[in-house]
């Protein structure tokens, strides 16, 4: 394998691993704030219990996000040194703002949020939770601004092969940014909705269920049922935006090899790059044309218009179907589940076990949809790193292939181990929620030097 492909695979492995965790922590941060506020308003112990349990999940998720994010900050330079040399004036400040306004904010208040119970007032603790949630969202804002700029660059000029910014507001609010940001925020929300419902369903199946599980099943299903139609609408708008700015990506997503009027929607097919055609196609006549142009006989550009500058078709085509398929499944399951649960009078024991099993099986459904979506958008940008302007091959590092292969293997082993450990620990925590809370009490006792609780400080005031 050549060094470029290895560098891309290594980077892809890392960002794939990384995005799993922010996808959960962005929406989960706000969910924690919601639990906390409900607890303060209602004083029902079940909300506090939910808050405590999911704080543990958040801490674990956040730690994995941090360590893989730190890795990413180095890999920009180790894998794509030419990228920063050509586009550093655009990418650099956006990344710097992410560190300054988001990373420090979330990391700074996370300690107070996790260990500050009893050491700071209820108000301050609530503020800390708010700042952590805000930090994760600001982080997403900057990184998606940069990513969207790479898809739909504007607001810059190129002087002597180097990018210089003309207008920061047009760089940040580039044409695809509003769509991509909204799409990602909703993806995170859906991921958390199915996580809550899935873990609750697992607890109910395993007899570890309590009032918290019944409540969170309802919260998760409701959230999923409300958000998924919005996500489908936003996804459609995002697609139309892509058609306008990156028609080659759309052609690959649709497996459309020739420019066609009234293009069919391929429910399934196997694109064949060498033969420049599809095998085993299951078409719905005219539907792609209707979705993309809102006209059954509209014209959609095919891959023939973008010879040598369109992405590899197969992965984009398949990933797009995985994402959409998962979205449709989420719609069906959340609506059906919510309807069933309501009819059961919110009594989880009256729900059929296969429904709970299905929900438990979809605990990480959001991950699959999100990763597939990112593959569509990122592989779909190839062969460019900055769409239409800079090719990925031109900015790769000259690190020898064996060195990249070694570190790639190393990262892969660590990542696989951590994914397995993460899911195993989540399962363990779900089955033994009381152990988790017990550990929390011990942890807080150990980190409580605070004047209010510790006898040591009271005897030995500083």
């Amino acid at each position: 394998m050549d060094a470029l492909l290895l560098a891309r695979m290594q980077f892809a492995a890392n960002i794939t691993f990384h995005i799993l965790f922010p996808t959960i922590s962005i929406a989960l941060g706000w969910m924690l704030l919601f639990f906390r506020i409900r607890w303060l308003k209602s004083r029902q112990a079940v909300w506090l219990g939910s808050y405590r349990f999911y704080t543990k999940v958040f801490a674990l998720t956040f730690a994995l996000g941090i360590v893989s994010g730190v890795t990413m900050s180095f890999q920009f330079g180790t894998n794509w040194p030419g990228y920063m040399e050509t586009a550093g004036n655009v990418a650099g400040p956006l990344l710097a703002y992410e560190v300054l306004t988001a990373f420090f904010l979330e990391a700074g208040f996370l300690g107070v949020m996790l260990f500050g119970q009893g050491k700071v007032s209820e108000r301050v603790h609530l503020m800390a939770t708010f700042f952590v949630a805000l930090g994760t969202t600001i982080s997403a804002f900057w990184i998606l601004a940069l990513n969207s700029w790479m898809q739909t660059p504007q607001g810059h000029e190129v002087i002597g092969g180097e990018f210089h910014v003309v207008s920061w507001s047009s760089v940040i609010f580039n044409p695809s940014f509003p769509y991509r940001f909204t799409h990602m925020m909703l993806a995170s929300t859906l991921t958390v909705a199915f996580l809550l419902a899935g873990i609750a369903a697992w607890q109910l199946l395993r007899g570890a269920g309590n009032a918290g599980a019944a409540l969170l099943l309802r919260v998760g299903l409701t959230l999923g049922a409300v958000v998924i139609p919005v996500q489908i609408l936003v996804g459609d708008l995002h697609g139309l935006n892509t058609l306008e700015h990156q028609p080659a990506k759309i052609a690959a997503m649709e497996g459309l090899w020739e420019t066609t009027r009234g293009a069919p929607l391929l429910l399934f097919a196997w694109p064949d790059e060498a033969g420049r055609g599809n095998r085993y196609g299951v078409p719905v006549p005219g539907l792609a044309a209707f979705i993309l142009t809102h006209d059954w006989d509209g014209e959609v550009k095919g891959l023939n218009e973008f010879r040598d500058e369109h992405p590899p078709v197969l992965p984009v085509f398949v990933a797009f179907r995985v994402m959409v398929g998962m979205g449709v499944l989420m719609l069906l399951v959340s609506w059906f589940g919510l309807w069933k649960y309501r009819r059961a009078g919110w009594q989880p024991e009256r729900l059929p076990r296969w429904l709970l099993g299905g929900l438990a099986g979809m605990t990480f459904a959001g991950w699959i949809a999100t990763v597939a979506g990112w593959y569509v958008t990122e592989i779909g940008r190839q062969p460019y790193i900055i769409y239409g302007l800079v090719r990925t091959a031109d900015v790769a590092s000259d690190v020898p292939a064996p060195m990249i292969a070694t570190s790639f293997a190393l990262y892969l082993v660590v990542y696989l181990l951590l994914i397995v450990a993460y899911i195993a620990v989540m399962k363990y925590m779900a089955e033994k929620p009381e152990d988790v809370l017990e550990t929390e009490r011990r942890e807080q006792a150990a980190t409580t030097p605070g004047a209010m609780t510790s006898p040591v400080v009271a005897e030995n005031p500083k």
Partner: protein, 331 residues
């Protein structure tokens, strides 16, 4: 010097300060991590609890430092990180293992806890050794020849030792009783490699780099400059003597940590003086490597607004978790 020409200097200083804060703050985290295997099972929890609320924010300084290298000196970033490709990968694996072990060790099944503790220890060790190696390679300008890797290897031992000493000093400040007594012992053990390492490195750096030699051994500068090694020696000596006294267990428990910060600060100043105005010694000056002034100004505005806020909530967090780390209460 016009403002545009001064900008790279400002950013070099910012990068240096971020890296210094990283070395001090994550240095004590990593040092405590490397002491894990010497602590009893119950003490391990106290060790981790003493750094638990801080480590996320501490590691962020590394992201900021490397981020400034990336955004303000993109050409140097390419040279440095390409030369250090494998040690960077090893350091990252170390930081990954250490970082996740914080959470996994208390959330996984109790039978898995010792495994995560071992990963906590080895992750901390791997990251520290890799950082020492990288520092050694960086200071010596990535030179080729038998003596350069030897120099880097020496720092790959000395830096982890300094982290252990710093970590032990942190524990002296944050713990009490038997554990504090142990921490004093650990600090004493780590003191020797640090002191010997400092002497060797101070002698080897001018030997290995002509630029550094010319800079330090020219009259009259040498008279003023000699303050740096002298003060370092004094601080280390005071630290050693202090470890033998009783006050270190009482009102002066913060002093070993403060002295170690002083030692690292002096080392940083010496390094900065040796390297400036290069960002990669003898190869790239900070002006060769800098981004456009427009980009630097845009970041500068952000820095000016956010760094005081970051300082504010960092101090807030240290105030919330001030004082001794509590004993474990199995309620």
């Amino acid at each position: 010097m016009s403002f545009d020409e001064a900008l790279p200097v400002i950013f070099m200083a910012l990068m240096g300060v971020s890296m210094l804060i990283y070395v001090v703050s994550d240095g004590y985290d990593l040092g405590v991590g490397m002491l894990m295997h010497r602590a009893e099972a119950a003490e391990k929890d106290v060790l981790v609890a003493s750094i638990g609320p801080f480590w996320d924010a501490n590691e962020t300084w590394l992201v900021l430092g490397i981020g400034i290298l990336l955004v303000a000196f993109p050409r140097a970033h390419g040279v440095v990180l390409t030369s250090l490709y494998l040690p960077v990968a090893l350091m990252l694996v170390g930081l990954i293992l250490r970082g996740v072990a914080f959470d996994f060790r208390v959330k996984a099944k109790a039978t898995h806890k010792p495994t995560w503790d071992r990963l906590f220890f080895s992750g901390s060790m791997l990251a520290s050794v890799a950082q020492g190696w990288m520092l050694g390679r960086y200071v010596s300008g990535f030179g080729e020849g038998w003596n350069y890797p030897l120099f880097a290897a020496a720092i790959a031992i000395a830096l982890p030792a300094a982290y252990v000493l710093l970590g032990a000093a942190w524990l002296i400040m944050k713990t009490e009783g038997e554990l504090q007594q142990k921490a004093i012992g650990w600090a004493r053990l780590a003191w020797w490699p640090v002191a010997i390492g400092m002497v060797l490195i101070s002698m080897a750096t001018p030997w290995i780099s002509e630029t550094v030699r010319e800079r330090w051994f020219a009259l009259p500068g040498i008279i003023a400059l000699s303050a740096i090694p002298l003060m370092t020696a004094l601080a280390l000596y005071a630290l050693y003597r202090l470890l033998g006294t009783r006050v270190v267990r009482g009102p002066l428990d913060w002093l070993p940590f403060a002295l170690m910060i002083g030692v690292l600060l002096l080392g940083f100043l010496g390094l900065a003086y040796s390297i400036y105005p290069y960002v990669v010694i003898d190869r790239l000056t900070i002006w060769d490597a800098a981004s456009s002034p427009a980009a630097l100004k845009f970041i500068g505005v952000g820095v000016a607004i956010t760094v005081p806020m970051i300082a504010g909530y960092t101090i807030f967090s240290y105030r919330v978790f001030r004082g001794k780390t509590g004993e474990l209460k199995y309620a």
